[in-house]
């Protein structure tokens, strides 16, 4: 279709005043990364002004365009997912829509991710804003087999919908033809009876504004504090009190926050609309079943069997296949039967007898397990450093990240977050916190970085603290599994119960002690699908590479440190210095102090050191009651340490020096304190 008119870039630069004085205004809105700025550039040419939105540090770009023979002031807003703002950027976009006098909107949406765009379209429709919808990146959506029935979508929304490829300017002429005719959408998401009734009570009490009263009423019900100044300036104190009364009465009907309830019901409306207009190629096969399983997995009751099934599968794969079968094969068959003896024989052949040979492989004639050579002996790089890193840790890391990638690619992880939301609320967090926590079971350092997913500082600090304190990483889980196998079931239960108790108790206390506020839980759920093998393998490999780059040098460093301490007779000194804590408070054997020293490098390394002390008794079944208590106490104490030096640095980086040092100052004495308490309790009740 050939348009009768089009945008033309101005030939003369315009100043800010001239731009905003244009007779008509076009506001571009859309989710982040949908090509909004490309479209803005195509509409306005290069004559734009950039200024901070009044009272904020958020930049807003304005430009001029000629559309349909008229001059337009075009305003590019920061990307937003929601008109109920959760960040300063989103608030600026909402405030522009609320305060600009006369305008029409152009919503730019990623055609590949229509669901997210429709959620925003629902809110623009509710707000009574005249708008046109541009389905951008239409070519990429088509390439992925996503077909959108634009006529049907246009009919359902009651506005013009145009497919575009902004980078190629495809669809732009048609879009320009439609923009001046933008109308108000007739689409209205319906909410449950209680919300609709509260809205009908609330709407007459609200001051008039550019946005519809229904839309503003929903924002007020959801507890949008940023609307307070506008409300206070337009409503009397009595009205404000009535508004708050309606909101509170409605909130008391739901266990979740109203923000969450409204968002969920609006999302359901967007989902229904999405399903009416989108068809997929091969991907749609079995989508009904996927949707049903997806719905179960977020349900607090039906989700439990799904969760148990996932946990059982993960345990069988990581805990049994990874931690037992693979570890046993790599450690005993590959390393101790072949790699270590071959390396020892090779080095004894290559390196002349004497101090250097002793340094590398220990004294001749003695089995490698009884010597203390640097490369082979009891602290040897091959026998301890590499054997530990490659034979014990790697299989667990690989199987864990493989499981994690499967969960991630299937779309189950965000559903798990929805299901456990209530549990985490108790710890001042929301369901999203389950993601860093689960990832922490793979690598706490990586997970500390993922704590950014939490929206407030308070939540990030709590997640970081809990990760540092009570979430063992896969390397440590490997050694814990190995040690728990040598303990009775009761001792294993003591260990697990103490760690879980500490996690919840510290979380609960932190939620009450750490200043700040939590946030509401809004997370987009991608469709549930069968994981794609290629994606899973690539993601697993990328995580393993990242992990090994971080972890392996530390294994080598730990080995070297221990060897240096041993050779310089410092280890004995350190053991004696740590004796008051290790022997006096925790009642552990003096030599376990060296394991604790390594715990400052990596806590799993400490567990490995403890494993070496008790392994002979475990393998022969001669563990006594006192030894079982000692192992449990040592494991609890070490597990509650800061995971590793890399994690400590990551905490400093992500949370800042002050918070990072405060977390460390809390964790170390707390770990020893809990260890001492467990020792006392076990000696009395075990």
């Amino acid at each position: 279709m050939t348009p009768s008119s089009g945008a033309s870039a101005r030939t003369q630069p315009l100043d800010h005043k001239e731009i905003v004085a244009a007779p008509r205004t076009l506001v571009l809105v859309g989710n982040p990364n949908v090509g909004k700025s490309v479209l803005f550039g195509a509409l306005t040419g290069k004559y734009v002004t950039v200024s901070n939105y009044p009272g904020t540090t958020v930049e807003v770009t304005r430009g001029a365009a000629e559309i349909g023979g008229l001059r337009w002031h075009v305003l590019d807003t920061p990307g937003t997912n929601n008109l109920l703002p959760m960040s300063e950027d989103e608030q600026v976009t909402r405030d522009i829509l609320l305060r600009e006098p006369e305008y029409v909107c152009l919503q730019v949406c990623d055609a590949k991710n229509l669901r997210r765009g429709l959620l925003l379209a629902c809110q623009l429709a509710e707000a009574g804003v005249p708008f046109t919808l541009a389905l951008n990146m239409a070519d990429e959506a088509a390439a992925r087999g996503i077909r959108i029935d634009t006529d049907r979508l246009s009919g359902a929304l009651g506005i013009d919908v145009v497919s575009t490829v902004a980078v190629q300017r495809t669809g732009l002429p048609l879009l320009l033809e439609r923009i001046p005719e933008a109308g108000v959408s007739k689409f209205r998401p319906r909410y449950d009876a209680a919300i609709e009734s509260a809205l009908s009570e609330l709407e007459p009490l609200l001051p008039a504004a550019r946005l519809s009263r229904r839309s503003l009423g929903l924002m007020v019900l959801a507890g949008d504090d940023s609307l307070q100044p506008w409300l206070a300036s337009g409503a009397s104190a009595v009205r404000l009190e009535r508004i708050e009364g309606i909101r509170r009465a409605l909130a008391s009907r739901y266990p979740e926050s109203l923000r969450f309830v409204v968002a969920r019901q609006r999302l359901a409306a967007a989902d229904r609309l999405h399903d009416q207009v989108v068809t997929r190629g091969k991907a749609s096969a079995g989508s009904a079943l996927a949707r049903r399983i997806g719905a179960w997995s977020t349900d607090p009751v039906k989700g439990i069997p799904v969760l148990l099934l996932v946990l059982a599968a993960a345990y069988l794969f990581v805990g049994v296949f990874g931690a037992k079968t693979l570890v046993d094969f790599l450690e005993n068959t590959v390393f101790y039967d072949h790699v270590v003896p071959w390396t020892e024989a090779f080095l004894r052949f290559v390196v002349p007898a004497g101090a250097v040979q002793e340094f590398l492989v220990g004294p001749p004639g003695l089995p490698f397990r009884e010597t203390s050579g640097f490369v082979i002996g009891k602290y040897g790089l091959v026998s301890m450093g590499l054997a530990y890193g490659m034979a014990i840790v790697l299989p667990i890391v690989a199987t864990f990240f493989l499981s994690f990638s499967v969960l991630e690619d299937s779309g189950y992880l965000p559903r798990l977050a929805v299901m456990v939301n209530r549990v985490f609320k108790w710890m001042g967090l929301n369901g999203k916190a389950v993601l860093p926590m689960v990832l922490g079971l793979g690598c706490d350092t990586m997970a500390t970085m993922t704590a950014r997913i939490m929206e407030t500082r308070k939540e990030r600090v709590i997640v970081t603290l809990l990760l540092a304190l009570a979430v063992p990483c896969s390397a440590q889980i490997a050694v814990i599994f190995a040690m728990l196998q040598g303990l009775s079931f009761a001792a294993s239960l003591w260990f697990s119960a103490v760690i879980v108790l500490v996690l919840f108790l510290v979380g609960w206390l932190a939620a009450r002690v750490i200043p700040g506020r939590g946030s509401d839980f809004v997370l987009e759920l991608p469709p549930l699908r069968v994981p794609q093998l290629g994606n899973v393998l690539v993601k697993t490999l990328a995580r393993m590479e990242w992990y090994l780059r971080e972890a392996l040098p530390l294994f080598v460093l730990g080995t070297l440190l221990l060897w240096v301490l041993d050779r310089t007779h410092m280890l004995g000194l350190v053991e004696r210095a740590a004796a008051p804590v290790v022997v006096g408070i925790l009642q552990l054997p003096e030599q376990s102090a060296s394991a604790f020293i390594l715990g400052f490098l990596r806590r799993d390394y400490a567990a490995a050191g403890l494993f070496q002390i008790y392994q002979p008794y475990m393998s022969t079944g001669t563990m006594t009651r006192v030894m079982e208590i000692q192992v449990t106490v040592a494991l609890v104490t070490v597990t509650l340490f800061i995971p590793c030096i890399a994690n400590f640095l990551m905490i400093l980086k992500e949370r800042g020096w002050k918070t990072g040092l405060a977390i460390s100052a809390f964790v170390l004495p707390f770990a020893v304190g809990v260890g001492a308490a467990v020792n006392l309790l076990m000696r009395r009740f075990y």
Binding site: N31, P32, N33, G79, N81, D110, K112, N113, R116, E140, E408, D409, G411, L413, P414, K432, L435, T445, M446, M449, T450, R452, I453, M454, E455, L523, E524, P526, P527, G534, L537, V538, K539, L541, A542, R543, E545, W546, R549, E550, A646, L649, M650, L652, K653
Partner: protein, 69 residues
């Protein structure tokens, strides 16, 4: 470790497709300056960008997919 490769990424958590440019790990990382961890602009989820062996595997899989079309 090299910095991020500028390309389209898809968040494994929320499904958001975005340009990796400007979404990298902060350069003050004490472990490896400019490591290849990407942060989703929509949900904040961090994930390592496929590089090294994973990048090679991804390239090989993409080429196979293209050839199959």
């Amino acid at each position: 470790m090299p910095a991020l490769v500028q390309r389209q990424e898809r968040c494994p958590l929320c499904g958001m497709a975005f340009d990796a440019e400007g979404q990298g790990c902060r350069p003050s990382c004490p472990l490896a300056t400019g490591c290849r961890v990407v942060c989703c602009p929509s949900c904040g989820y961090s994930f390592p960008q496929e590089s090294g062996w994973a990048g090679k595997l991804k390239g090989w899989l993409d080429r196979r997919k293209e050839a199959g079309r």
